[in-house]
Amino acid sequence: MTASLASGAKLSRGGSHAAESPGVGARPASFAPSTSLIELDHVGRTFGSGKEKVRAVDNVSLTISEGDILCLVGESGCGKTTTGRIAAGLLKPTEGRVLFQGSDIWSMDRKEFKRYRRAVQIIHQDPYASLNPAHTVYKVLSAPLLRHNLVGNYAEARLKCMELLEIVDLTPPGDFLDKYPHQLSGGQRQRVSVARALTVNPSFIVADEAVSMIDVSIRASLLSMLSRLREQFGVTFLFITHDLALAKHFAWEHTIAVMYVGSIVEIAPTPELIDHPLHPYTQALLAAIPEADPRLTRSKPRVALRSMDVPSLLNLPSGCRFHPRCPQFIEGLCDQEAPELVSVGNGRYVACYRVSQV
């Protein structure tokens, strides 16, 4: 486990001076080891213009090594989906760079960009919406195969589709190939979306709340299928979810990054994040989550927040974005300048003055 943590996500946030400040081990993402598959380098994204500017993602840097899992956790509206779309190349960041195997995807030439596109796939949240209702499973799966000349003819495409369906446990595949999405259950549909993502042999999959809409009773089998993809094919995952329990389960030997209102507040190996959260927001979040265990959930210590209001993206608080709610707020410091995400050792990164200065 420790080995995979050592090669885990390395990152920094907030400009090059993070690396220059003494005693701080964080290095700018650009110095990360070459095994990194995908890198977000001080990425930001602003939507809208003029007065109605919404800063959805602000100065986010993440590095995901090959074969690793990074879980991005945060509440609705915190920018995790936008970050995922930027990583998948579906959205151009307004600041910063996205590096795939070391090269900037937005300055790639056509051929290179196409290669990147094929290497990166996204699994969407809602399998009801992400599959064309008028296309059979075969058509859904064969389209990318034929488009990218991954198969020579239709017979080959059919065989390849059968193979893919078997990988996602839709067996016997012959039963599913000619079905329409409406003939499948939610779990089966999501498996088809996964199979579609696998058609082009991707090395990186962005799973955006991929199991959130699936009934709890069948979630576990979908999660273990996704883990198997990583083990068998070395697929790297950016797993986006609002459910910390799910993130913990999926990325137990990997890394979790916690996002709050557009920026990353803490990154740590999963067991450490769960046992000893450092950022006050992570602490509040962990204490607030109800658990499916009556004695445990009723005896959890509570964290009292100073305010219940989530700041609006149109009117962000000065300094640390969590300061209006933070129980450990330091006046004259937290409300002045936003803390940088800095390394605190053991592969952990925190953006909080309380942690970095004490």
């Binding site: 009934d215 389960h249 658990e291 265990d293 959930t297």
Partner: protein, 354 residues
């Protein structure tokens, strides 16, 4: 008296006065082109005074239909095929299913209020909170504006809102958590004995969820109403419920004290659900998933609706459906094999999953 009727009657423990609501053998169907969707099939339960009862189950298990039929707010395509919903207050009792339109209107809100799932859609967007509250009260023949306003302000304070500001706001000016709290305050306006909450925290952020949960606990303690809440989320049931009822394919398959249901589940489906949900605290847990998918409610499997997914199923399960029977005091389970479930506590699940 048939065996079935006896077992139904023997449920109520203690005086009936402590049971504001009893549902007996309720059947609800929806009419669809392909046939009848059997959404609720013979549900029976009691709601005790001052308790919170959680209806838990996956989507399509009939929990919302069951809750809507309690106040007869079902859509037109639904038909109640049979059963009784007995409501009691101050020594009087009546069957909600036989109420006339006018009485029904009084029953709703004044006796039994409902808080709907999406807090935004539950409001009229062009009316201020005060106007909506006054409208509600007016429909129930209270017309003393000053008195109503005072009470509305008190209730808004009770749900921890800045009452003076919120009462003159439009719904869009409030955040999701605030709207949920306003809805709660509104549901309490006429001091109902029973409150039904449909997924009260689902659309909210985790930190907001927490405040709503704490608020519900506090209000229940202060005002002493009984509460039924619908949730697909087991953790909410663990947090908030005194008793839990698990539903599967329109039937209540297990009902009991929250600790009994979570720590000593006797129905294979409840057990499977509990094993499928990870907790945040603690080490890594193996998760188990229930094979197959929920059944088609138009074309249910014969016998127990869960048998195609159940590792304990045998020939009998394919032909007969078990009745809810008491396994310990107040803990009822509808499964022939509950003793086997008790003995191996889900080892069967692991075996199947390998």
């Amino acid at each position: 008296m048939s065996k079935r009727e006896q077992s139904l009657l023997s449920w109520t423990e203690g005086p009936e006065a402590d049971v504001p609501l009893s549902v007996r053998d309720l059947w609800v169907e929806y009419q669809a082109q392909r046939g009848a969707v059997k959404a609720v099939r013979g549900a029976s339960f009691d709601l005790y005074k001052g308790e919170s009862l959680s209806l838990t189950g996956e989507s399509g298990s009939g929990k919302t239909t069951l809750a809507l039929s309690l106040i007869r707010l079902l859509p037109k395509s639904a038909h109640i095929r049979g059963g009784q919903i007995i409501y009691r207050r101050d020594g009087r009792e009546y069957d909600v299913l036989t109420l006339e339109e006018g009485d029904l209107r009084q029953f709703r809100w004044k006796e039994c209020a409902m808080v709907f799932q999406s807090a935004l859609n539950a409001f009229n967007p062009v009316l201020k909170i005060w106007d909506q509250m006054y409208d509600t009260v007016k429909a129930h023949d209270y017309t003393d504006r000053e008195k109503v306003r005072k009470q509305a302000l008190e209730l808004l304070e009770l749900v921890q809102l800045e009452s003076e500001r919120v009462i003159d706001s439009y719904p869009h000016e409030l955040s999701g958590g605030m709207r949920q709290r306003v809805l709660l305050a509104m549901s309490l306006l006429l001091n109902p004995q029973v409150i039904i909450l449909d997924e009260p925290t689902t659309a909210l952020d985790i930190l907001t969820q927490r405040t709503i949960i704490e608020l519900l606990k506090e209000l229940k303690k202060k005002l002493g109403f009984s509460m039924i809440f619908i949730s697909h989320d087991l953790s909410l049931a663990a947090e908030l419920a005194d008793r839990v009822a698990t539903m599967y394919a329109g039937r209540i398959v297990e009902i009991g004290n929250v600790y009994d249901v979570f720590y000593h589940p006797r129905h294979p489906y409840t057990l499977g659900l509990i094993k499928a949900v990870p907790t945040v605290t603690g080490g890594f847990q193996e998760l188990v998933s229930i094979p197959g998918s929920p059944p088609d409610l138009i074309d249910l499997p014969p016998g127990c609706a869960f048998h195609p997914r159940c590792p304990y199923a045998d020939e009998r399960c394919k032909q007969e459906e078990a009745e809810l029977t008491a396994v310990t005091r107040g803990h009822l389970v509808a499964c022939f094999h509950w003793e086997r479930v008790q003995n191996d506590l889900g080892q069967e699940w692991q075996l199947r999953d390998q």
